[in-house]
Symmetry: C2
Subunit: 552 residues, 2 copies
């Protein structure tokens, strides 16, 4: 049996567009003599549709488009396509998360998701009733165990220490293998997380080896607002070796002969997944590109400060959108050092990006004049620093409003974590590019961009980080060195360790307490942050929900 | 048996504070000869703790404080207190949402929540495993059916048309009544929604009548960031009549003799729930007061535009925080009408609130000078309107930063819905007071404040609404009259009707299409909005999750 995996980039709710992609892939698979073509989870509408699933017209439209696909399917090629399905029982959630098997002009059989992830960024039990009945697909003499994403994740490799591997009380594969299937097929929408690529692969190879069955895994690819799906669909033989991996961060399409799979040469277990930082770079570029592409935006702007965060953001955006679609501003104040401007100009020229220089001092002085009535002779403090950040944001948004360039936010995860950022100032933007990238990784990204030639001027990488909002300011005036800070943050945020365990990793106890306090006290700021491209297993945003009003 | 309902306002994570409140109530109940005192759902930590439940130290602290309560309990009075409990099974979620029965120095018995709401603002299946085993509490010769909030909501009265009453496949009361209980006790954390007060009550009276059992319902009271819990705990006799209701929006405490309940005179079914608008006003005041009180903030600011939204926000805030804790700014531009300033001054004087007038024209002109380099001779457009809004926000935030006054956002639900607001401008603030109140209800709130004497100057209520960001601007230049707009919005947002059904209610089809399009296109703006005090069954914010990048 010849099975095609079609790894596509869907646009949520764009039924005509998704239909066209699906039908093209079916046509191509048929031309190659494929017996079956497999798409990803909820492919008809794109994943995750979130509360669009609560709208009746959205579900009936999904159903209508499933029918439109089935109408174009003859008896030669079967199709497995994902979509929401009405739950016809009188009790339980209104929907199932289902896979429709199409053949010969109609829906022949439906398979439903049993394990509904409801943690981190996942909210599936908000919408779906879990499946409790199991069967296999019998087709052309083979038995296919059809599963949907989490169905293979009955054992979870969570990063947090306070978690358990067995979140569910059912195990779909134990049920399905009772029917003696010939292959496990998994339609997925599994998002990217940079330290989980090998773990993710081991889930599939582990299942294959355990049950002695080949696994064909078809993942969604492309970004949906903050969530980036890396693709990387897999064909695994029955001994648990990876035979083939589809492309990362782009659409791909591949045919496998099920009966030949055992004879194919596996790819080496190591060395085939690109290194972590290049995956992060590719993921972020994909995230920017799809945000703009799907929103029908073309051009972007950002403020180049002379620091490394805005430099790396610009390098990523220029690659995603093309340098000709970037128009950046340099917004120096009286506290900006001359090298900040020189470095920024050099960066813009290296990348071939249009830049303009708008000094903010005169607006800043006028703000001070206006506030004189209220402030009198009070000394300057963080108020005046924030005014500068907000003037910059207002100028960038003016460019955005006038010309349609979307403002990219340049804050990194380390400063977002401890609340070093000005609301409505440098925390502004339509999309946060680096909000899930710790400062130490921002440096690695800079080096990655410079791997062949200088893109980011060396001085931007080597000079001590500074917000330049008051004279001679340095980040280390009030923060520990970034490798220390990031170590504490990752232990607290990703691994969810309590303070004592973080300190036990070798950090100063008082420092740990202070940093954790800063993280907790700044939930209110992050609540108003732009969507953050997610590249880790625990990003700020929808996957992390903490009360703003709470005593920790 | 004498049972006390203790309706308290908890502070999430403030274990010492919550413990003190609980122990005080136990002492008081014991002094009155009570046999049992009932607190609300997750009372030990406050509801909803959200992802704090994913931190091991949070759960062990909850457990330690439950033990501290139990240690102080003798054999004379039992206590029912809510808290998270470790699930000792190897499979399933790590926690149960439980009620601990304390007596004689220790935890005697534990009851677990069976129905876990996972919709709208609720995410309980994110954390908790549902209970599947049922038993009653036998205590002093009575059998008590212990339930937790949603356990009584097996039949849901959802406002949305695309929903079903039976979300769950189990029915705890059917199970529990098999044990012949004498009373149903419900520990709840049930948030306020202004059109649902009667419906909510009917759930409890309906259960009482159906099973012929008294119902004692103890709700949490007070606000937790955006969620407002109205309290209003109930004692209902076995024929389904309300005997007593505890206070709305404040702590309350009441003892009931279970054996006397049948002889008590019911309160009238009508007329006892205050009218809708006064409930909304009280809810919002409670929301502001608790946000500030729990955050340890004392004072607030906002921009008075001369319009009705900022006027009503100020009236609410002055009542919540005291006029002496308000310091507002009038920020006129060249487009502001003279009556806007006069009306605002009069309002501030009526309320006894400090105000200052800071004209923004000179800062605005300097922004224009600075942008001349980029904009040249391009005509003015929305860019310049937004600059004005952002100058105002920067001045208000400067006052906030310098003096610690928290900026209150004054946007209403109608404009938030259609995206009439400037990001980082008038959409700024630490808390949105009216973001869940349609404009037509803002007018009713204004009239409510004027019910005895003029608080809000009549001219603010009667003049046509205008953003005053360009000459002679009126809201109706680009929007339909607010009663029409709000009718469409409520049908689309609260009732989740598709466009055709909204139009079928009597609205112009093209207008409906245009308004729905505006709602959908502005998800990106609302993503960055401050937390919005929730007073309806479907507020913007955590309870409404839509993809930003999607084609509707």
């Amino acid at each position: 049996m010849k099975i095609t995996l079609a790894q596509l980039n869907y646009y949520i709710g764009d039924f005509e567009g998704n239909l066209k992609k699906i039908l093209n892939a079916v046509r191509r698979a048929r031309d190659l003599g494929s017996d079956l073509v497999v798409f990803s989870e909820l492919s008809i509408c794109g994943y995750p549709p979130l509360d669009l699933l609560e709208r009746e017209e959205f579900i009936t439209t999904c159903n209508r488009y499933i029918e439109r696909i089935s109408e174009s399917i003859d008896s030669k090629i079967g199709v497995l396509v994902g979509g929401p399905e009405f739950n016809k029982q009188k009790e339980g959630k209104l929907l199932f998360n289902s896979v429709f098997f199409l053949l010969d002009g109609k829906v022949q059989q439906v398979f439903r998701k049993s394990l509904l992830p409801t943690y981190d960024i996942f909210d599936e039990y908000r919408y779906f009733e879990p499946n409790r009945e199991f069967t296999v697909l019998e087709y052309k003499g083979k038995r296919l165990a059809i599963t949907i994403c989490e169905d293979l994740w009955d054992e979870q490799p969570f990063e947090s220490e306070f978690s358990r591997s067995r979140l569910y009380t059912t195990n779909p594969l134990e049920e399905l293998t009772g029917y003696n299937p010939d292959v496990i097929i998994n339609l997925a929408a599994s998002p990217f997380a940079h330290r989980k690529m090998e773990v993710k692969q081991s889930i599939f190879t582990g299942k294959a080896a355990r049950y002695g069955l080949p696994v064909l895994y078809c993942n969604q690819v492309g970004a949906q607002t903050e969530l980036i799906f890396e693709g990387g669909s897999l064909a695994i033989n029955s001994t648990g070796d990876v035979i083939k991996r589809l492309a990362f961060f782009q659409e791909d399409f591949m045919l496998f002969d099920l009966d030949e799979l055992a004879r194919e040469t596996p790819i080496p277990a190591e060395g085939e997944i690109p290194d972590r930082i290049s995956m992060v770079a590719d993921g972020l570029i994909c995230g920017i590109r799809d945000y703009f592409g799907k929103m029908k935006f073309r051009s972007a702007t950002l403020g180049l400060s002379g620091g490394i965060d805005s430099a790396v953001t610009l390098a990523l955006a220029a690659e995603a959108l093309g340098p000709e679609n970037m128009h950046v501003l340099l917004l120096p104040s009286q506290y900006s050092s001359s090298h900040s401007i020189e470095d920024s100009v050099r960066l813009a020229k290296n990348l071939g990006v249009r830049y303009d220089i708008l000094p903010i001092e005169s607006v800043f002085n006028r703000f001070r004049d206006t506030l004189q009535l209220l402030f009198g002779e009070l000394p300057e403090d963080i108020t005046e620093e924030n005014i500068q950040a907000r003037i910059r944001s207002t100028l960038l948004m003016a460019l955005s409003n006038k010309f349609g360039n979307i403002l990219l936010n340049t804050s990194n995860k380390s400063e977002t974590a401890v609340g070093y950022g000005t609301l409505y100032g440098d925390m502004s933007g339509g999309l946060s590019v680096l909000g899930d990238v710790y400062k130490t990784d921002v440096y690695l990204l800079a080096k990655y961009f410079n791997r062949e030639k200088e893109v980011i001027p060396e001085n931007i990488i080597t000079k001590p980080p500074s917000a330049e909002l008051k004279p001679d300011q340095k980040d280390t005036d009030s923060l520990p060195p970034y490798d220390e800070l990031d170590g504490i943050l990752e232990a607290y945020i990703e691994k969810q360790l309590p303070a004592e365990k973080v300190a036990a990793m070798g950090f100063d106890k008082n420092l740990v307490g202070r940093i954790i306090g800063m993280v907790n006290q700044n939930e209110y700021k992050r609540y108003q942050s732009p969507p953050i491209l997610r590249v880790s297993s625990k990003a700020f945003g929808v996957g992390r929900r903490l009360p703003l009003v709470a005593k920790y």
